[in-house]
Chain length 370, copies 2
């Protein structure tokens, strides 16, 4: 997108409960996600980046909606939806899962949070998983309610996030393991505190469970973070690509299976046969995936804009894959991207990225970049 355009008002787009707070902080842009708007910047991109790498940043990620599975068959439905062994998942534990359709194509990469034996949340990426999960529950005749609860995460990310969160909730949060969470409250605001977040710099997500208290929670975190120079931010395109984090819907297409995008380790082929997609996944695992996700480093050292559409990658004028996301890396001082590339193309090979500004040489590298 070359220019700035208005995001026109419509009641189809729901507001984040943190919307007014982010406007006060000077939010400059958004993109749509789960029929909501996610902040994408606050006018100081350089500063916002280094705050995540070296300090602590707070993010409105209310767009990470929850799909609640609630009822006697919640546990059964969770295993039907998730091709990962959940038998050892404990209350208070989260698991990263590759939700798939019946063909083994990934349809989301949520964190599954087990609140109890009869209550789960899928903390989802951008896709209508309520619609899908309800349909499956109804088709299988399960006794479970599927709905979107009033839950909106606020992320606190960066190496100093733990100190900020401990100063609010106490030192017990230092013992939370990755993806584990605990219900608590602060000044009467109910929430789940989880060690998670869409960066590799460490941090927490506060799952706010009462949207009327969003501004109060924002201000508590902002105030507590002052000694560590906290500031507003958002999931950072540069940091997430450097860290090799997947963006479902950006780096996947209508054919992508988990083995192609480095999610094979989160698949258990021995889950029950009634798990959606497991038969297709077993076949793909046996035959081997046809593509793999690898890093792309482009020649040159002039920052180019964020890539807004998949770009063809060629060798000898033959398309070998696509660059699915691309951005300037502030640490590598190179334009980098994620490639979804034919499996026979290896790390270390060179190729051509077909950009709107002409052909650019590139090299394939291992992920993550950093």
């Amino acid at each position: 997108m070359k220019n700035k355009f208005e995001i026109s008002p419509t009641t189809r787009l729901r507001r984040s409960p943190f919307f007014e707070a982010t406007v006060s902080e000077g939010v400059t842009g958004f993109y749509p996600y789960n029929n909501m708007l996610m902040p994408t910047g606050f006018g100081h991109p350089e500063e916002e980046y280094w705050r995540i790498i070296n300090g602590v940043s707070m993010w409105d990620v209310a767009v990470e909606r929850q799909v609640e599975l609630n009822g006697p068959d919640a546990s059964k439905l969770a295993q039907i939806l998730c091709p990962r062994d959940l038998t050892k998942c404990r209350e208070g534990q989260g698991k990263y899962v590759a939700l798939c359709n019946h063909d083994g194509v990934i349809i989301n990469d949520p964190i599954l949070l087990k609140l109890s034996e009869t209550r789960f949340w899928l903390s989802i990426a951008d896709n209508n998983i309520v619609l899908f999960s309800r349909a499956i529950a109804a088709e299988r005749g399960l006794n479970v309610n599927v709905f979107e609860p009033d839950v909106s995460p606020l992320a606190v990310q960066g190496p100093k996030a733990e100190d900020v969160i401990a100063s609010i909730f106490g030192d017990w949060i230092r013992d939370l393991k990755y993806f584990w969470f605990k219900e608590t409250e602060i000044e009467g605001i109910p929430l789940q505190v989880a060690r998670s977040g869409w960066s590799k710099q460490g941090g927490f997500e506060l799952y706010l469970m009462d949207n009327t208290k969003a501004l109060a929670l924002w201000n508590i975190v902002k105030e507590a973070g002052k000694p560590w120079d906290i500031g507003p931010g958002n999931p950072n395109m540069s940091e997430r690509i450097e860290s090799g984090l997947l963006s479902y819907g950006s780096d996947t297409d209508d054919q992508t299976n988990p083995f192609e995008i480095r999610m094979g380790n989160y698949i258990n082929l021995e889950v029950p046969n009634d798990t959606i997609g497991i038969k297709a996944l077993r076949k793909i695992a046996a035959e081997g995936p046809k593509r793999h996700q690898i890093g792309v480093i482009l020649d040159g050292d002039t920052p180019s804009g964020v890539v807004a559409e998949w770009l063809d990658i060629t060798q000898n004028d033959k398309t070998v894959g696509s660059m699915t996301s691309g951005v300037w890396s502030r640490r590598l001082k190179k334009n980098i991207g994620l490639g979804l590339i034919n499996i026979d193309i290896k790390i270390g090979e060179n190729a051509i990225v077909k950009t709107n500004n002409g052909d650019i040489n590139c090299e394939f590298v291992d992920l993550p970049f950093l």
Copy 2:
């Protein structure tokens, strides 16, 4: 939304094939729809409105994606998805349908286009119906492919649209009945010509079947329309509310059934029992819906902005429903909206709309307004 914010680039948002054409025409805003961006204005709102009412307007509505059902069981799947009798639907005929989930809650209001006994399109509003339909087909073990084909509609709307379309394709298009369509081509561009469109001013939709030819098609229509002073436009919020047209996702919530939103006439309760939601719809029909969609005319004659979130409507301090969309009517010279209101509240009654700028008196009226 008070301010203008940037729509940040991401490969999650797909471009319309008409994107470059609309940029050349001076598009000023967008909103997201089916993970694409729909143009929402070209800088001359007054002129763009009257062009639809009195002349002819051309719209990039590529966001109206198609869900193709293709294969031996396509017809069976169509009837499973649609609680409307399709047994008499003929090839070349379209039908407006209320897709529902198993609870009888509307999940989309597409036009179903019957291309052949084994091939259907659902021309959808904003929701992931590929995901849903594939899940149902797989759960029921049907022999049918479900996918999004390379099809992008270009709408030509307004009282002079028929003359423009006839000048391109010939006078046979004057005999097309409402929602009927025919495959043809122009200068080698394959498309379906349908009498349809999201306005009540009459017109056609050209379902482009080769996205590489979008600019060529745009220019053919633009050139042909010159004698009738054609210009760029988009589905017009003012015209569609005046005409009482539903916006799925704007005027519906997670509980809305078709009987609440004037779609009862499109439901056939005698469709087979395996049609999704039909048992719930029969129950709702027997008990009667709890809400109804009616018109809201607000006091005052100062244009207010487009409503960006549902507004409470009260009588005697008790909430009786919501205004789900709202806009200034250029013909009525009033602020008007669609209300989703308790069934016991009747046309002619007065109430209060709770806006961000205070309470405003309103009256309930029949739909459409015009």
